[in-house]
Symmetry: C2
Subunit: 276 residues, 2 copies
Amino acid sequence: MAVPATGWARGPPPAGLLLDINGVLYDGGGGAGGGVAIAGSVDAVSRIKQSGLKLRFCTNETQVTREGLALKLQRLGYAVDAGEIVAPAPAARQLLQQRGLRPHLLLHRDVLPEFDGLDVSDPNCVVLGDAAEFFTYDSLNEAFRVLLGLETPVLLSLGRGRYYKETDGLKLDVGAYMKALEYACDVEAEVVGKPSKAFFMAAVNDMGLTPSQVLMIGDDIVNDVGGAQLCGISALQVRTGKFMPSDEHHPSVKADGVVDNLANAVDLLLSEWKKL
Amino acid sequence: MAVPATGWARGPPPAGLLLDINGVLYDGGGGAGGGVAIAGSVDAVSRIKQSGLKLRFCTNETQVTREGLALKLQRLGYAVDAGEIVAPAPAARQLLQQRGLRPHLLLHRDVLPEFDGLDVSDPNCVVLGDAAEFFTYDSLNEAFRVLLGLETPVLLSLGRGRYYKETDGLKLDVGAYMKALEYACDVEAEVVGKPSKAFFMAAVNDMGLTPSQVLMIGDDIVNDVGGAQLCGISALQVRTGKFMPSDEHHPSVKADGVVDNLANAVDLLLSEWKKL
């Protein structure tokens, strides 16, 4: 464990935490199934809850509903309920309603319930998530035709990740498909999810806090750490999940601290800051 | 028919023609099947051949071999043989051999014979064409993993088109999938096919001519007209295929002339220039 002397643990202690899920709480197995808890993380989450710190789980997972994700976490031993999870699908739903948009949904089947009841007739935008095996030649052509047929094409992308690791290997993430549609339709996607500022702010507001009172902990140097910092939220990177040693010399993002895993982060939080 | 007074028919007559295929000779139905000859074009090709002008067909078609494409054109009434067709797949094959590359092929099944006999073991590059229904979640992940695993990733893309029209609607073209892989792997594709200069020059050289002796006729303002002009080849646009009225006011490309169809172009070529 090494925490660079960047001062993150010397300021006032945070009043709330945002935790990334995949790569921080568990490894492998996106969606509703699979996954293995990362050593020490189950206990770390319990200790955070006992400490009285406010807590939200801030994820770009779009293959499953919040309820499905909470069930999965519970199976892995975590005391998490759906209401504590901030995810792109419900954020997109809110955006669609605010702007009176009728979406064409190119999404994984298991996340569709997050959009239940919305008017999807005569669509005037496309919502793109990590559809995984539901990315097909036909489903991509269909979304493309909807976009190209719109006078003002609107593409909402649930995240902009390049790829991720599943148990059976690396997979293209939603960002790659977003780029395909952007190019074909000459449109720029609006990203809903990390690293968008609106998404982090929704999570901060949900805790009733301000960015300077919050600490983000994640494994993705760009989407977790860089995104949070752009909102004025301090951010630690864990050396689990998709962490790579080269992240510590990233050309544009420097974490406020780097720790071996969530358990180490919580040790520091609850011991160092208690002494202040 | 309107030919802007841009001087294309006032210089010395061309010694050779490059004709795009889809949208100039026929409409609809990519690959080996389907398609309807455009009115007047079968006779226009005959007249070009009788005139003594040199002729090559210059296409970005990558769903079928040159032999398959020649057969299709013959069924539509054209006197064309495979040796007159300049296409991206054989150009890519030559490039692979020159550079000692072993390709992973993400291509339509019907074009694979163009790569027969090449060493595809332990691939050190990816060749991407318009795979159409062979674009699947799995085939894209596989190509992505090959690229990401290379120390120096090489992605050869057979064209960079955004989309095209099939009988049953618009389809994403190879360029969209190229963008997806470029983004995921942080790599820039090398485009083999129009509008690449090397591709046009191969066609010009194959006729034993220089660019200033050649006239390109196509329906695509960027890939046919713009690409040819960048090589010093004059280029006419036909108002068939994917032509759109807005092409006549394209922000960066101005055709040397615009004609209703190939028959009109040949009328002008064989009458106007004969008088000079």
